[in-house]
């Protein structure tokens, strides 16, 4: 899959989703596929961001949701009416990643000397601390209520009329949809290019043999910080789109450890270190969570009649299913569905060397 073909897929696929929605409406189902797909795209960016840190540079990072939250919260502060900043969506789209990247540098710089498990523990801690901080800085973040309303993607009214054919709600959904898709495609294209440049090679070299890389003049601290800040910036970008899509920064518990684990699940199931694997993982898990399980819930409700019991709701089983999928993958195909060539080789070589 080349980046050109990704752009092509973008161009080909994007107009068909509203058609599904219309068909669903005709059948009596409120699908809102375009809105749900935005969530998939946002998580796609998040998984790709985690891939920069875990897949490319080999830094086991379990606090990705914190940077996601920082991006969302920065977007809220920069755009809501009650604060004087009013950057608007496009301003926030540029500033939120910068804020998240600065947070990444501040957290990353002192923790880069830690390896593997220790870095994971520090980043889990950071995620938990950040959630508590966001809840408690009530004057800034409005605590559990979240900042709202976050304005929608600003587009000129003539463009909006043309896209939505006069229907304001539909125009809103479609503009959000195309914006999120465009940002995702841009992120993937840039990362795909980086994979084959000096920086991408440095990431892999560092993951393979840090000491040898340092003896060749590569600065491990600097390269790790680059990966950490880059991943944080992309997470901030995802956070900006997330808040804009929800029109609120939401309850900070949305950015907790569960979320980070979910993103890691997507990455591991898709394939560490591989862009298309990351995208596939996001599409499978988040798609299941956002598109399939509400539909199944509905089906169960129709079949059983009364679905008030928690066990009768399909969505109550999601963590069980994710855990099962993860164990299944670890057992049968530890490199993921679409692994990067190198990561697969590393995973399969190690038992022989040990």
């Amino acid at each position: 899959m080349t980046t050109e073909s990704l752009l092509l897929i973008f161009a080909v696929l994007s107009p068909i989703f509203p058609v599904f929605d219309l068909a669903g409406e005709a059948a009596g189902l409120q699908l809102h596929l375009d809105q749900r797909l935005v969530t998939i795209f946002v998580y796609g960016i998040l998984v790709v961001a985690l891939n920069v840190q875990v897949g490319y540079a080999g830094l086991l990072q379990l606090g990705i949701a914190a940077f996601f939250g920082i991006g969302a919260m920065a977007t809220g502060v920069m755009t809501v009416d009650k604060y004087p900043f009013h950057f608007g969506f496009w301003g926030a789209l540029v500033c939120a990643p910068l804020v998240a990247a600065v947070a990444g540098v501040v957290i990353g710089a002192p923790t880069l000397r830690l390896r593997g498990d220790y870095l994971a523990i520090v980043t889990i801690g950071f995620g938990e601390v950040l959630r508590t901080v966001l809840i408690n800085l009530e004057n800034i973040t409005d605590g559990p209520r979240g900042l709202n309303p976050v304005p929608e993607v600003w587009t000129p009214s003539w463009l909006r009329d043309w896209i939505g054919a006069g229907d304001a709600g539909e125009a809103n959904l479609l503009v959000m949809y195309y914006t999120a898709l465009l940002v995702l495609v841009a992120a993937v294209v840039v990362l795909k290019v980086i994979e084959n440049t000096r920086i991408g090679r440095a990431f892999v070299a560092l993951r393979e043999d840090e000491l040898a890389a340092a003896c060749m003049g590569l600065d491990p601290g600097r390269i790790k910080l680059m990966a950490f800040a880059g991943g944080a910036a992309l997470s901030g970008l995802a956070g900006c789109l997330y808040a804009t899509n929800l029109t609120t920064t939401a309850d900070p518990t949305n950015y907790d450890f569960n979320n980070a684990v979910m993103v890691l699940c997507c990455l591991i199931i898709g394939g560490l270190g591989s862009l298309r694997g990351a995208l596939l993982g996001a599409a499978l898990l988040i798609g299941f969570d956002n598109v399939l399980s509400p539909l199944l819930d509905r089906a169960i409700q129709v079949a059983v009649g009364d679905a008030s019991h928690p066990l009768a709701r399909f969505s109550s089983w999601r963590w069980f299913l994710f855990g099962f999928a993860l164990i299944f993958m670890m057992r049968l195909r530890p490199e993921g569905l679409f692994p990067a060539r190198r990561v697969a080789a590393e995973l399969h070589d190690e038992p022989e060397e040990a």
Partner: protein
């Protein structure tokens, strides 16, 4: 310090590498004890000694992997540790100031400060100068002693922490490598799951970053008017548009009445961003100049592979190479950093006699490229055949130093290392 072009040869009076009284202790064990070593530019020098004599430890101390317990390592008359400059001290102070600011806000209460500064007025009455006067007014209401104390503690933590990190990273493998020392490893440490050519390219990272790849006319064409402005043009236009739009949002709020200007900005921004993405996919590098630099670097890497006889294997994975080939790839990778001094740690280990002969020729041709070579070796035929000077280590101490002839005749060496029959070859 020479960072580009052909390695420099300095005048022969001053040694290229000068090690003085180097001692390396691990707990109670002294691995290297007060070793002196001079390597003259342009020579092939060797360190020999029985197993456990501290040869590899000496290499690790020279290349910055271990911090010596005491002693000096100088390259071209300069200490290999980073010099303490005004910029470094300024960095500590800046870190201290940033952290003291954070601590000041914590003492004043981040939440309360925000309330007093941003939420004190309705959003449309907010001004930057007003915000600052609100900020100082808020600080004035706080506990001055607490805030002073917190700021000082914050400064101390930031500045001392930055200093501690810098002191610990004064001597690093990458720092020594950047001064022109490259090495190979006793147990081969290639990037096994990268390609052969990629292994060499990784070592050229510094030159790729600075655009100093290639030599002569190739280098000139790589840099000719194309470096390093491409990225700024690519991203500058969308950035200007976004800043302008954010600025409009600031001054007029979100309900923009006249949409002409923001519409144009949005379309220009999206157009420029899309055009950039399409160009990215076409050329495969982030900027136009990096594409040229990359191409020249690949050419240079191929020349290095040809030099060690691996140009036919350029596309293979490094771990698919035979043992002797892996050793030669390690040499090519080390040469790609354009070192002044190349340290080879047992280059002939595990090689058969004909490979060993090839290796000796390779080491000589490396020297003829202007790279000084220091090697550890057990094969006496190799050591005696190619070395200009030999240093003998036993139990971490230097017991002899001289030309191969002198070493061969030295009774201490014969007793300690070569054995009674003057053997080994």
């Amino acid at each position: 310090m020479s960072t580009s072009g052909t390695p420099l040869r300095t005048s022969s009076d001053s040694p290229l590498l000068r090690v003085r009284k180097l001692t390396l202790r691990f707990g109670g064990l002294t691995a290297v004890s007060e070793v002196d070593l001079d390597v003259q530019p342009g020579e092939i020098a060797a360190v020999i000694g029985p197993n456990g004599a501290g040869k590899t430890s000496l290499f690790n101390a020279i290349t910055g992997i271990y911090e010596p317990t005491s002693g000096e390592v100088e390259l071209d008359g300069n200490d290999v540790r980073l010099p303490m400059t005004g910029k470094v001290v300024a960095g500590w102070l800046a870190t201290g100031l940033a952290s003291s600011l954070l601590f000041l806000f914590i003492a004043a209460g981040i939440d309360a400060t925000w309330k007093a500064v941003v939420k004190a007025h309705p959003p449309w009455e907010f001004t930057i100068s007003g915000a600052f006067s609100d900020l100082f007014a808020h600080f004035a209401t706080g506990n001055a002693l607490l805030m002073l104390l917190f700021s000082l503690v914050g400064f101390a933590i930031g500045a001392l922490g930055a200093r501690a990190v810098w002191l610990r990273s004064r001597r690093t493998p990458q720092g020594v490598a950047l001064q022109g020392v490259a090495r190979t490893f006793q147990n081969i440490r290639l990037f096994h799951h990268m390609g052969v050519l990629e292994n060499v390219l990784v070592a050229m990272d510094r030159h790729l970053r600075r655009g100093t790849v290639g030599s002569g006319s190739a280098a000139k064409s790589a840099l000719d008017g194309r470096f390093p402005h491409g990225a700024w043009l690519d991203l500058g236009l969308p950035a200007v548009c976004v800043v302008a739009m954010a600025g409009l949002g600031w001054t007029t709020g979100d309900g923009v009445d006249d949409e002409t200007l923001p519409s144009i900005l949005l379309l220009v921004m999206l157009g420029a961003a899309l055009a950039w993405l399409v160009r990215l996919t076409r050329r495969g590098t982030l900027t136009g100049s990096s594409r040229v630099v990359e191409a020249v670097a690949r050419q240079e890497a191929m020349e290095l592979l040809k030099f060690v006889g691996l140009d036919k294997r350029a596309g293979d994975l490094a771990n698919s190479l035979a043992y002797g080939e892996q050793r030669r790839l390690e040499v090519a990778r080390a040469l790609a950093t354009r070192p002044k001094l190349l340290l080879l740690d047992e280059p002939a280990a595990g090689m058969n006699p004909s490979e060993t002969v090839d290796l000796m020729a390779l080491v000589r041709s490396i020297r003829d490229r202007g790279v000084t070579v220091l090697l550890i070796e057990h094969h006496m035929r190799v050591v005696m055949g190619i070395s200009d000077h030999i240093t003998v280590l036993v139990h971490g101490k230097r017991i002899a130093h001289g030309t191969p002839e002198e070493i061969r005749r030295d009774p201490k060496v014969i007793e300690a290392y070569l054995g009674a029959d003057d053997g080994g070859h």
